[in-house]
């Protein structure tokens, strides 16, 4: 701190050679004034972060160990919230659904955009068309996408079954069947979000030096070998980043199950975040909701830490 202060004084003197340096007391007062001003600029942001990020994070942990109903005094209950939540049959279902959803979304949401980006990168015409069209669903509000697909999935008159009938294929219950509901939601989420992923992959593909492909081709590498030995290693970092981001995002899925299936049928699509919502707003059990939140926080925080770690080391390496 003192060294920066010194450097600043030197800089100031250097810019203003005609003036004598201000007396020491004046300088200290100026420094204090600088600090007050700096914190004046910071104030609004700091208050918001304190109230809506830092405090809730601490509060989630505190309330997880309390019996908490708004309006009455909180009461310490130890780990009772956790044991109650663990005993809830919906708990296991919610975690199973969330993990399955994340896994399926990763398979679909990772492979499909990668292949699309690979193809788009080879096409030399109508580039703007492809980029705009693939990103269009991302700009449609998630609630609208969910309602749109709910209507498509309607077993009687929905477009999904109409298409299957048109192709003479067996129809499905889609979001109304216990065994197909979760997959149906994954399709919606993938449709709605893949545009962003495609564009990020596309940017990564464009940064691959062409000489690498040229050299590989001279060595007699086939198309698939070039993908395997040039494209994938060169984009490995972006792939890993997006995978982690996608895990973090999809594990917080709420809108699709809430709007399309309402958690049903038979709890097949209750997700962890949905269960948190139910505990808080249906059961009025904020202790249980916070206990669940803490579990979700711990798991996703670990993924986020890995993500930040990786991006930081990459940033330093570049």
């Amino acid at each position: 701190m003192t060294r920066t202060a010194q450097r600043r004084t030197v800089e100031k003197v250097a810019v203003r050679p005609m003036q004598a340096p201000p007396p020491a007391g004046d300088r200290r007062r100026r420094r204090l004034a600088d600090q007050v001003r700096a914190y004046g600029f910071l104030l609004g942001g700091l208050v918001c972060f304190a109230l809506f990020s830092w405090y809730p994070a601490i509060r989630a942990v505190v309330i997880a160990f309390q019996k908490y109903t708004p309006g009455s005094d909180p009461e310490w209950v130890g780990t009772a919230n956790f044991t109650r939540v663990f005993a809830d049959p919906e708990f296991a279902a919610a975690w199973r659904n969330t993990l399955t959803f994340t896994l399926l979304a990763l398979l679909l949401g990772f492979a499909v955009p990668f292949v699309l980006a690979l193809v788009l990168n080879e096409l030399r015409h109508a580039k703007a068309f492809f980029r705009v069209v693939v990103y269009l669903p991302v700009m449609i509000p998630p609630v609208v996408s969910a309602l749109l697909w709910k209507w498509f999935y309607d077993p009687g008159t929905g477009l999904a079954n109409e298409t299957l009938r048109f192709l003479h294929l067996p129809t499905s219950n889609w979001s109304n069947g216990a065994d197909t509901a979760l997959v149906s939601l994954v399709i919606v989420a993938t449709w709605a979000n893949l545009g962003g992923t495609v564009l990020i992959y596309l940017a990564a593909l464009q940064s691959i030096p062409g000489e690498l492909y040229e050299a590989a081709e001279l060595d007699g590498a086939s198309l698939l070998q070039r993908i395997r030995h040039v494209t994938i290693p060169q984009t490995r970092f972006v792939i890993l980043m997006l995978m982690l981001l996608q895990i973090i995002a999809t594990m917080q899925v709420f809108t699709e199950p809430f709007v399309i299936t309402g958690g049903g049928p038979e709890n097949a699509t209750v997700t962890v975040l949905y269960l948190i919502y139910k505990y808080a707003f249906l059961y009025n059990d904020f202790g249980g909701a916070c206990a669940l939140s803490v579990l979700l926080l711990a798991l996703l925080g670990a993924f986020s830490a890995v993500y930040l770690r990786l991006t930081r080391t990459e940033g330093e390496g570049a």
């Binding site: 600029f41 700091l46 809730p56 690979l118 068309f129 705009v132 990020i200 492909y213 939140s293 986020s304």
Partner: protein, 286 residues
């Protein structure tokens, strides 16, 4: 900018290569049109079908008769003006609050050297590790304690606590040359004046990116407004659509969905170059 990609230009130039290229091209155009454009077309036109026609099997691709009543009914029955206006107020306020407080804080952290500046920045960046949705319940309780339920401030103030946007701004300010700011100071400009007349005009690109992120985030959000606006008249369009979707004719619902999508889609079409370039430049999503 034609750099060498997976397939070499020589391969493409051969007759067989050209045939494969054009069939892949056509296939991709069809796939994109079918997968991404058709659902949107289906939504926009179905809202103009008659209630009988919308429920008919097999469905009609082009409406037999074009009715605008779906859209006009949606406007009146669903109280769309109220909910659209609520959304606009919430998004615009979040945007203004974020621009004012995040730029001020980023400027302080980047240029004013506050004591404990590093600690503050660390605390802000640490929130990036905390998944936002997992914190909604304690955040809701805090908002309730502050008496902000059913108040747009419940959207505006938490929007300021956006570490990603703040960090984006701070990184940009870090790159601004020091001597320009010092020159302004020598000319007698105060800190606020320097921020307003020197830093902000030089930061147009990053301010644009932050603005788009801020607006899109509020317009697309669902869970948070669902929690904080129990009062139907205060709800944004996303929440209102779901709450009202149960007991409304299908064509009216679909028309409302279209209307709810128009502002964001229009913004995207106007700013698509910037938005797409921003995503490509590696800004993370989700």
């Amino acid at each position: 900018m034609t750099t060498r990609t997976l397939v070499s230009p020589a391969t493409l130039a051969r007759p067989r290569g050209r045939a494969v290229y054009w069939s892949v091209f056509t296939g991709t155009v069809l796939l994109f049109a079918l997968a991404f454009l058709f659902p949107v077309y289906w939504m926009a036109t179905s809202a103009m079908k008659s209630p009988d026609e919308v429920a008919r099997t097999p469905p009609t691709v082009v409406p037999e008769q074009w009715h605008l009543s779906g859209y006009t009914d949606a406007w009146d029955l669903m109280q769309l003006p109220t909910h659209l206006w609520n959304t606009v107020v919430q998004a615009a306020g979040a945007w203004v609050f974020q621009l004012v407080f995040c730029t001020a804080a980023a400027y302080a952290l980047s240029k004013l050297r506050p004591v404990f500046g590093k600690v503050v920045l660390g605390g802000i960046l640490a929130t990036l590790m905390v998944p936002a949705q997992a914190l909604v319940v304690p955040k809701y309780l805090t908002v309730a304690d502050l008496g902000l339920l059913n108040d747009p401030l419940a959207i505006w103030l938490p929007a300021v606590a956006n570490a990603f946007n703040l960090y984006l701004l701070k990184r940009f300010f870090d790159q601004l040359p020091r001597d320009v700011l010092e020159a302004a100071e020598i000319d007698g400009a105060g800190k606020l004046r320097t921020l307003w007349s020197i830093v902000l005009p030089m930061s147009r690109p990053v301010l644009g990116v932050v603005s788009i992120f801020a607006l899109v985030a509020v317009w697309q959000d669902f869970l948070w407004p669902l929690m904080v606006f129990s009062d139907t008249d205060k709800q944004p369009i996303s929440v209102a659509l779901v709450q009202l979707s149960q007991n409304i004719p299908l064509t009216v619902l679909i028309a409302s969905m279209v209307i709810a999508s128009i502002p964001m889609v229009a913004m995207f079409l106007v700013f698509q170059r910037h938005i797409i370039a921003g995503i490509g430049a590696g800004s993370s999503k989700g």
